[in-house]
Structure formats: C-alpha cells, structure tokens
Amino acid sequence: MLVLALDTSTPTVTVGVVTVRRPYALLDTEQGAADTAGPVTVLVEHTVTDPFAHAERLMPLARAALTESGHRLAEVDAVVVGLGPGPFTGLRVGIATAAALGDGLNIGVHGVPSHDALARCIGPLTGDLLVITDARRREVYFSVYRSDGRRLVGPLVARPAAVPDLLAEHAMAPALLAGAGAPLLEGVLDLPVTTPVDPLSRGLVERAGVALVTGAIAGPLTPLYLRRPDATEPGARRSVLGR
C-alpha cells in the first residue's frame, strides 16, 4: 500500500512517500524497534526547515515528493501524520492537512506521536534514549525510550533546567540524546547526541503499522499540545474616574 507521511511538529516540515508490504508484516515491529530488513520502504522524503511557513510549504512539498516517486495523490491508500508534541500553529497545519486529505480522498488517516516516530529512526540503541524538541517559550518537549523502542516517559513539557530532576523522578538515566531540540539541553545534561539513520517517514509509518495493515479504523487526530491555551479571565473592573 502507498502511504503519505507528514510531520509538522518541529521547525522542519517532513513529507514522505512510503510503501508498505502487505500483509501484516508490520505486526512484529509495532512496539519493537525498526525492522531494518522490514516491509516499509521510503520511496521519497522531502523536508524543508522554516518554522513559520508550514502552511505555505507542506502541500507543495507533498506534490513534489509524490511526483518524484512516480505516484499521484489519488493512488495514496492512507495518510500518517505526526501528532506532536509541537508548537501549536505549525503542528495544526500538518494535522489539518492530513485530516482533509483523508476526508477528500476517502482514505484513513492515522496519527502517531512524533517522538515515537523519531525514536524508531535512531538505529540500534545501547541504552535509553532521550528525545528533545523545541517547545518555544524557553521550554522543551521530551520523551524517554527504552533500547527496544518502547516509550517509558513522556511526552512532557518542561524548562530545560528541570529535565534532569524530572528524569530522576521517573528513575530514568538515558544514555543518548536525539531530536531537533537537543542543543537546548547544552550545559544541562551532558549526553552524546545522536542523529537519525532513517528518514522520519519510516518511523511515522512503522509506528502506525498495525492500524495500517489491518485497516483498523483510525482514532481521532488529537494533537499533543501538552499546554493549555493562554487565556486569562478578566479581573475586576478598573476605575476610569481615578480617585
């Protein structure tokens, strides 16, 4: 089956055109680490990094990726989209696009946590992995994964300086750091930083694996905002007459 994978949870917009070999070959890898010889093939992945142009760039990027892969949008069998966590406006662009593509093409749309997808792209792990992305407002989103790819903690949002204590609270001692927000932990947590060996589309599609190959009805596309909207209730009326 032909799958379009989208993620807009970071400053980078990612679009991948991915094929998945049926049937059920993904069942073994849904919770576990990426099966490198596996049934998922990333035909094309395009990315562009521009934190304020997600709405502008996503569909042109998808069109270009599809064209390069030799496929048309009408041939796509399913859409997978990263649900974040991510800064709200950009994150919503990916999810709104995926939802409308699914509705417009009459195909399923599966949402997956973006950190889970990234954790699957790191390659063989020797210890626990800490995934960090930028939450803006001087905070980070983070999740911790066991070496087999299972998520142990997160995703959570915190100030960088608070991350070591939060990890200690959960008795976590990750050995590796990954994600676009890794530089934000500089001087806070000294861990080796690793970069993905696989395109993010592979992680996204593998994470959605079981639902994709079984044709399960996709769940709601609930964004991982992790923060309440900024809003304050009006206080007492201020005097206009003065004293």
């Binding site: 142009a53 997600h54 709405a55 502008e56 760039r57 996503l58 569909m59 042109p60 998808a62 069109r63 949008l73 009408a74 709200f88 406006t89 919503r92 662009v93 990916g94 999810i95 709104a96 696009t97 995926a98 939802a99 409308a100 593509l101 699914g102 509705d103 417009g104 093409l105 964004p223 905002y225 909207p229 900024d230 809003a231 304050t232 209730e233 009006p234 009326r237 005097s239 206009v240 007459l241």
Partner: protein, 348 residues
C-alpha cells in the same frame, strides 16, 4: 457557465463551510454548516485565539461533511475550493487554509484564497442578487468596522473609512462586561436597549467633529464615557438604569454608523448600501439605517442574520464571483495573511 464552489471560513471563532452554485453570474446557496467556539470564549469576555484555533481543527472535517449533507451535493461535483486567507487571527486562518489546500488537491480542483471582508459583502448576493456598481458596504462586527466602496466584488474594493480603535462589536462586548451582562455583548445590549430610553444619556459620537475624518470611526471614547457614567452613579450610591444605559449607548453607535454611511454614499454618489457583519443584525442599527437610507433616497440591502455573521457560504459566494470573473487560482504556496488589506479581494 455554471460552477459549484465550496467555501471554508476560519478567521475568527466560527468554522464555516458553504456550497454555492453560480449560474451565469448569479450565485445560489446550496447548503452550509457552521461550528462555533463562542461558548468557550464567554468566560474570557472575548475571543481567545488559541482556543479558537484548536476548535477549528476539531470541527473542520465534520463541518465539511455536514455542509455536503445539507446541500445534497457530492464532493465529486465541486468545481473549485475557496478559503478565507485573511484578514483574521493568524493561527485560526491557517487551519482553514491548510484544510482547503488539501481538499483542493484531493479533488483535483483549483483553489482560491479570498478576502474575508469581501466575503461579507458577497454574502448579500446570495440573498439579493448581484450588486449594482458601485455599492457602498458597511461592515460591522466584533472584528471589523469598515466602509467599503465596491466597484467590482471580484476585483476592486476600496476602503473608504475604518475604525481608528475598537470595532463596533468590541465596544458592545466591553460595555456589556462593565455592566456585568455577559458575552457576547451585541445581542444582550440590543435586547435590554429595547426596554430603555435612548435619550436618557447623551453619550459622545466619536469622530463627528468638523475636522474629523468624515468616514472613520472611533468607539473607544464612547466606551470610556459609558464607564464614567456608570462609575459616577455607583459612587453616588445611585442605582444603574441598565436598560437606559444600553439604549443610550446603542443609540450613539447606531447614530454614528448610519450617519457616516449615508454621508459617504451621498459624497461618493453611490445609490446602494449593503450592511453586513454581526452588528448588522442589531435592531436599532437596522431601523435607523432603514430610516436614513429611505430619507436619502438610498437602496439598503441587509442579508439575513445567518448570512451576516461569519460563515462559509459567504466565502463560497466570494469564490464563485472570483471564478466567474476568470481570475487565476491561488498558487500552491498560498498561506494565511492576518493583515490582508481589503483591496486584495483574491490572492493569486
């Protein structure tokens, strides 16, 4: 020529989707659907952008489906998609733009990014047919207070006047809040004003001096005058005549809006006035506009309340006019523009 256009609106707190068929230039509303996050903003006394954006995302595909069901149209019948790409709340706009781009791509039809303000004017063509050229439009709502000269809905709209501070609807919300009446202020004050004396208090009419900009509006001073009046009474231990205050405030708003509109029409030699936006549904604004337009020999057109407030039908109508005018579809890099000027009725 006939075409069916789907319109998507998400510039503020209403997620709207409409389907319009245009035949030989005449648009016809086939059906529409609306989801509102208004209730979620009530305790904050105004629209909270992030709450509105989240609600748009939650509601979007369901609202599109509901519009198709209402219209009895199949998605395969759609010839073009139109979407509000500004002005409006940045995050809110992008949900609609992203969805519209995806729907247009999925259906393989052209996409037209259109101006929300022009859409308000276009809504009237669904009810009263094509606009004479030129037409003067007064847009009044929680977000806008504008006088527009419309020479061509799909091509040439000029801003004649605008508010220099608060929008008229915003003034209603603020006055309702200071009187402890709840949100949104417009309908509440309108209802109470009907039982009050509009001449009880002479509140100031902003920007109506001989040297003031003749077609611009200001409601901030009016709001402060109401606050002063209320506070003075409170300090004296006197009861607040809420209905009278509402009626007098509303009279000041309606007086300025209609006087400036009629004057602009006379000065510019325009014979037809359209009033749109949420405040167009206001009882006193409507009555006073009818009186004054009749006295001045002007034709007044006000769409029904459901077409006055933000909705998807107005965007579909606007898209339909743009399609019929033969304008080029928007490019694939279309995005939202919170400050889109009204002169840009359609973003190529």
């Amino acid at each position: 020529m006939t075409a069916i256009v789907l319109g998507i609106e998400s510039s503020c707190d209403e997620t709207g989707v409409g389907l319009v068929r245009i035949t030989d230039g005449a648009p016809e509303l086939l059906g529409q659907s609306l989801a509102s996050s208004q209730d979620q903003h009530a305790r904050f006394g105004g629209v909270v952008p992030e709450i509105a954006s989240r609600a748009h995302l939650e509601a979007m595909t369901a609202t599109v489906r509901a519009a198709f069901a209402d219209a009895g149209v199949d998605p395969r019948d759609v010839d073009a998609v139109a979407v509000t790409c500004g002005p409006g709340l940045a995050g809110a706009l992008l949900v609609g733009v992203a969805a519209a781009k995806a729907y247009a791509a999925a259906w393989g039809v052209p996409l037209f990014g259109v101006n929300h303000l022009a859409g308000h004017v276009a809504a009237d063509t669904l009810e009263h047919g094509l606009l004479p050229k030129p037409t003067l439009a007064l847009l009044v709502s929680g977000g806008h207070t504008q006088l527009l000269r419309v020479d061509d809905l799909a091509g040439a709209i000029i801003e004649v006047g605008t508010t220099v501070d608060d929008a008229a609807g915003e003034a209603y919300d603020k006055v309702a809040r200071l009187l402890g009446l709840g949100y949104p202020g417009g309908p509440i004050i309108d209802r109470l004003a009907a039982r009050g004396d509009p001449a009880a208090v002479r509140f100031p009419r902003g920007l109506t001096g001989p040297r003031d900009a003749p077609y611009d509006f200001s409601f901030s001073g009016l709001k402060t005058a109401v606050a002063r009046h209320v506070e003075t009474l409170e300090r004296a231990g006197a009861p607040i005549p809420v209905a009278d205050v509402c009626a007098s405030f509303q009279e000041a708003v309606a007086d300025v809006l209609t006087a400036k509109t009629v004057r602009a029409a006379a000065d510019l030699g325009i014979g037809t006035v359209v009033i749109a936006g949420g405040v167009a549904a206001n009882g006193r604004v409507r009555v006073l506009a009818e009186e004054r337009c009749a006295a001045a020999g002007l034709t007044l057109r006000v769409p029904r309340p459901g077409l006055c407030t933000d909705n998807g039908a107005m965007i579909a109508a606007m898209g339909a006019h743009v399609v019929v005018a033969g304008r080029a579809p928007s490019g694939e890099f279309l995005t939202g523009n919170p400050g889109l000027p009204v002169s840009v009725v359609h973003v190529p």
